[in-house]
């Protein structure tokens, strides 16, 4: 059993859209993962380390995309255990291809960076076992449009890597479900909720907040979603 203690609270709460995405990713990895092999987490923001480790149920190898992420992983590693021992393995700046071939039972990648994604994908492709699930948190088109309104944007939050999907297909990955989070409706509800608060109508603000939560994960794939969780599976190669 694995757990993350409150040390992680220093990062503050994660956005609901990310919590939803990490829930779905964890469920997918738990369902399809190989229990004997560790999961690899490629993280671009400290909050993603916490959210991932809180949901892990076995060993996790962490590849940090920045010094801040590496520091977060180090701090959390001391409070994460699996069968009484630390469950977190901190990888170097890169995956060692010679040692990593087929080593990982699944991957959560949150989130690809423009400057490193192609190199990372190639290394992950070598490191993942056949048929291993790969869950990737990427921005939706709506994130481009609403970026100006995100006052609390953290370093490492998803940015655009347009060619990622094409490259996955080229490598033979079978892309499964894509889950979308956020969109125009959730933006509108969030704005109305804020207005209601300013207008001293907490009753309306609470109702709008509920509508916001509902709209955040609305039916189907929205072309203007803010975030997308993509689930792919590596093909079997002989």
């Amino acid at each position: 059993m694995l757990a993350v203690e409150r040390a992680a609270a220093k990062f503050g709460p994660a956005r609901l859209e990310y919590r939803l995405a990490f829930d779905l990713a964890a469920a997918a990895l738990a369902r399809a993962g190989d229990g004997d092999r560790p999961i690899i987490l490629v993280a671009s923001a400290p909050i993603f380390v916490r959210e991932s480790l809180a949901r892990a149920s076995g060993r996790v190898a962490v590849l940090a995309d920045s010094a801040a992420v590496a520091e977060a992983a180090r701090r959390l590693a001391n409070s994460v255990t699996f069968l009484g021992r630390s469950a977190v393995e901190l990888l170097g700046a890169e995956i060692d291809g010679a040692q990593a071939t087929g080593r990982f039972g699944g991957c959560l990648w949150a989130s690809p960076r423009p400057e490193t994604w192609l190199r990372r994908l190639r290394a992950l492709d070598a490191g993942l076992a056949d048929r291993a699930p790969l869950a990737i948190l990427i921005p939706g088109n709506g994130a481009r449009l609403s970026a100006f309104s995100r006052t609390a944007w953290m370093p490492g939050e998803p940015v655009w890597t347009d060619a990622l999907r094409r490259q996955l297909t080229r490598l033979g990955y079978r892309t499964g479900r894509a889950y979308s989070f956020g969109g125009p409706a959730s933006l509108v509800w969030a704005a109305i909720s804020r207005l209601a608060s300013v207008a001293r109508r907490p009753d309306l603000a609470d109702r709008c907040e509920a509508a916001y939560r509902s709209a955040l994960a609305g039916p189907g794939h929205h072309p203007l979603a803010r975030s997308t969780l993509l689930i792919a599976h590596k093909a079997t190669r002989r």
């Binding site: 757990a3 203690e5 829930d23 779905l24 907490p202 994960a217």
Partner: protein
Amino acid sequence: MMALRLAGAAEVAVARLDRWLETMRGPGGYGGPVVHWWGDCLMFCGAALDWRYEGIIAAYLSLFERTGQARWLGRAQRAGDDLVRGQLPGGHFRNSCFELNPGVGGTPHEAAADVGLLLLARVLRDRGDEGWRVYPEAAERNLTRFYFEQLWDEPEQRFRDDPHRPSFVPNKAATLVEALCLLADLTGRDEILHRYVRPTADAIIDHQVGSSGTPLDGGIAQYSLGRELIGKYFPYYNARCLPGLLAAHERLGDRRYLDAGLRAASFLLRWRDPDGGFPQVIYSNGRVNRYPRWIAAIGDVLRALDLLQPYGFEPDLERTRSWLLGGQLPSGAFRSAEGFGSQVSQRPPSGTPDPRDLLPVVGWNDKALRYLATEVTEVRDDETVLQEGVQRSISAVRCVHRGRPIELWEDDRAIELRRDGGAVYRWLKGTEWAEAAGPWAMLASCQALA
């Protein structure tokens, strides 16, 4: 005659609910999905060591004390062992955040788990069971490492709800008061009462409305941030304040705490709906968001009001008891609420429930069990009760989600939401993660699971 009728109904309800609870156990303890006013936890369904353990342990101890049947003590001790085994080196309990799971440091959940541990310890100690000490040790570890070392704000003389913000939540503090009073009882350390319980109880009554003759009189505000009081009054959470206030009154002999409890109870009854249910939240501007109205959780309201009986407060609670008992599902679980589908519109529900209304949640059902356990004097063998025309635990109920029909289906092994014959959400009991074709709100249009 009424009391006898209720006792009979409660006996059957308890037997069926206990049977359902057994189906919700997995590795590490009781699991399952959570629905709540502030959000749901539908994907993570693993064992969660949150406030469900307060109600479960207290209920089984109550059943043991009232029936003398050893199996109930065994159930309570097993739950206590879940907490002890699930405690982390820093004192936290694994997955203690209820609707925010997975995570640790949940409030009031860890204090509520401490209450369960301390109640169990008291019973075991009184029976001469030498193994009792492990439970208060676990509770004290949590109270010390988390509450005293991280949440206690010495200058303000109150427990924060968050180490990083000057927030105070009366109902959560009241749960903590209960735990601290029990710890003081077990250890004889009265300084706990004076250093922590008294200022905390004082802070709770600082949040109470004192405007005699007004509709909000006696209501306790949901929380404060620094000096700013947030004018939201949840009847359910007001009821959660009562046991802590009474515990403080009984230990410290301060009449103000009892008076505050009595006024909070009057507030509750003033806002009770004619059918015995309670609105979700009343605002200081006089507006009400009525839906969803809790059902299983109303066990806590009934229990809190019962606690005031020795002080001469004896309102007619029959409508509210009926409201609770009418919420039992064929599976044996109690439904969570009425009106989740109306949370945004606040229009009265049309009749067919939202699946979140019916989704059975351990962390609400423990409240029903705890109250009903105080109403029985005997619980016959489960199978005997179940043979009396009570359906076994297969349950299928038609619901509406976002205007489209959906079926909630449950048996001993799984909970599913089905549309057009296929599952769109499935939790196999005992596993950590549910399977969904999308986050909850996507269910209306998502494709079926493979």
